[in-house]
């Protein structure tokens, strides 16, 4: 159990996060927030790369910074910008990190083979990583985070650069893993979180905006999302006066999906629709 208590993080005079309180139990937690909201900062504090300016983070009641290697043995981390040695093969690279993680050599060898299989890199495990595509490198990163069989898995945008098939494979892997551990992941790809996260944490204005599960989050938007078609001539003025989520051109008219509080000024042809996470995201982070 991981507890973030009254955590504030400042960089000089700039406050990146203010008074964050969160609890992470078993399951998948999705961090959803726009660019620059402080997701990476929060994750770096959880893996002790950054220290909180105020407040503290506890693991099973103990301050993580004082736990030292006892805490580091529990975590697996995939940084947003994943670093690797270009001339190494995935196997060499994972062997090296396995040693640093204090794994026993033989056990590590077996685990490396299994993991590379799981992320679909079994047939290139001895190829130099400089010849890899972006998505392949990213999958080595995912394997690396899982190497120590961590209780707490922190993944910063793990699906960046993965094709739809690999994203599906990743989601399955995460669901399978999350049975008995904490997985914290951030992503901009709303559909990744939607299907896999048990809880969604949104950050807004340097604080926690909400911490709930997906369906109650979408429920919050119930009756606020509509769709309608507008003649092309009026499309631009419609877009100006409504909070448009998406816009699609059709022959002779334009189809809009938009959010709105209450029924005032609602076009008669507008139909309410089931909100999804993307609607929530766009609504919460709208520009006033």
């Amino acid at each position: 159990m991981l507890t973030v208590q009254n955590v504030t993080k400042r960089f000089g005079s700039f406050t990146a996060l203010e008074d964050i309180n969160l609890e992470f139990g078993k399951g998948v937690y999705g961090l959803l927030a726009p660019n620059g909201a402080g997701k990476t900062t929060l994750m770096k504090m959880i893996v002790t790369l950054l220290f909180p300016t105020k407040g503290r983070i506890l693991c099973d009641g103990k301050e993580i910074l004082s736990m030292g290697e006892n805490y580091r043995e529990k975590i697996g981390y995939l940084p947003q910008e994943f670093g690797y040695y270009r001339n190494d093969s995935p196997r060499q690279y994972l062997r090296y990190l396995g040693a640093l993680k204090g794994l026993e050599r033989k056990a590590a060898e077996i685990r490396i083979d299994r993991l590379l299989e799981k992320v679909g890199l079994a047939d290139v495990k001895d190829k130099k990583m400089k010849k890899f595509s972006g998505g392949m490198v990213q999958r080595v990163g995912i394997a690396q985070a899982l190497l120590g069989n961590p209780e707490i898995l922190v993944l910063d945008e793990p699906t960046a650069g993965l094709d739809p098939k690999e994203r599906a494979r990743f989601r399955n892997l995460i669901s399978e893993l999350s049975k008995d551990r904490t997985v914290i992941l951030s992503t901009h790809i709303v559909s990744d979180i939607e299907s896999v996260a048990n809880r969604i944490v949104m950050l807004k204005d340097h604080s926690v905006y909400c911490d709930t599960d997906c369906s109650s989050l979408c429920g919050m938007m119930g009756g606020k999302v509509f769709e309608c078609s507008v003649p092309q001539k009026e499309a631009d003025s419609f877009e100006m006066s409504h909070l448009v989520i998406s816009r699609r051109e059709e022959p002779g008219q334009t189809h809009f999906r938009f959010a709105q509080d209450g029924e005032k000024g609602l076009p008669p042809q507008a139909k309410p629709v089931q909100p999804d996470l993307e609607d929530v995201f766009l609504y919460v982070y709208r520009e006033d």
Partner: protein, 250 residues
Amino acid sequence: MKIEYPTPQEQHDSIERIVKYGLPQRSAFAELREMFRSLGPRVIFYGQGDVMFIAAMAVAFIAYYLVQLACQPGIGKVAPEYLYSFLFTVSPTMYLLLCLLGFWKEKLSTVYDIKMTCKYTVCHLAVFRMLAFSCANIVVNMLTAGLCCLLHLESDFWRMFMVSASGLFLLSVLLIYSLLFGRGIIPPTVVSVVWVPANLLCNALAKDTYWHFLRVVPLPLHIAVTAALACLYIFGLKRLFLRKKERVLC
């Protein structure tokens, strides 16, 4: 009679206390040994090959320079003050190159973040390497002093050795504390870059004091100062090992 049973929290706290005070505390040295046993030299010095090559070249160059100096016509042409200040200034070169280039390599490699979250972090590796490089540098100093004797540049082996050792530990102390109290690896880089000019400047401005320390101070006092520096250095390494600051070596 009713005996109050301790709550689970009290039980837990007592166990923690007993474990904390009852078990022998592992010393930093024991941890280093454990680390070496677990990782082995291949992992600890991983990716340091090119850095070591550069440092070895520098050492070879210094040896070559000393031989050149000895081969000049007319024995005894080299003034001892020149030789001693040369030894003092140049003796930590190998250590300095190894550490500094190693720091920069670690910083520029994007694997820093991941290595910092492993059981053995960049800090642990750096401490081990710095310690190993100091030892290697002491051996090189001994060889250099021996070489100077062989070449008849100067006959006082122990003083030459102690002068180079004190140079080494003074620089080591400056390096480790600039790392511990400064931000990132720019301060140690600055220390390294100004090391030679600062020595030249000392030599020019306070020639007598500088010279006195290198040549005239009784050897036992010289040894005591060097030992004090060495202790300070080990103490600094221990602090780096425990890392109480974010972004060390970054």
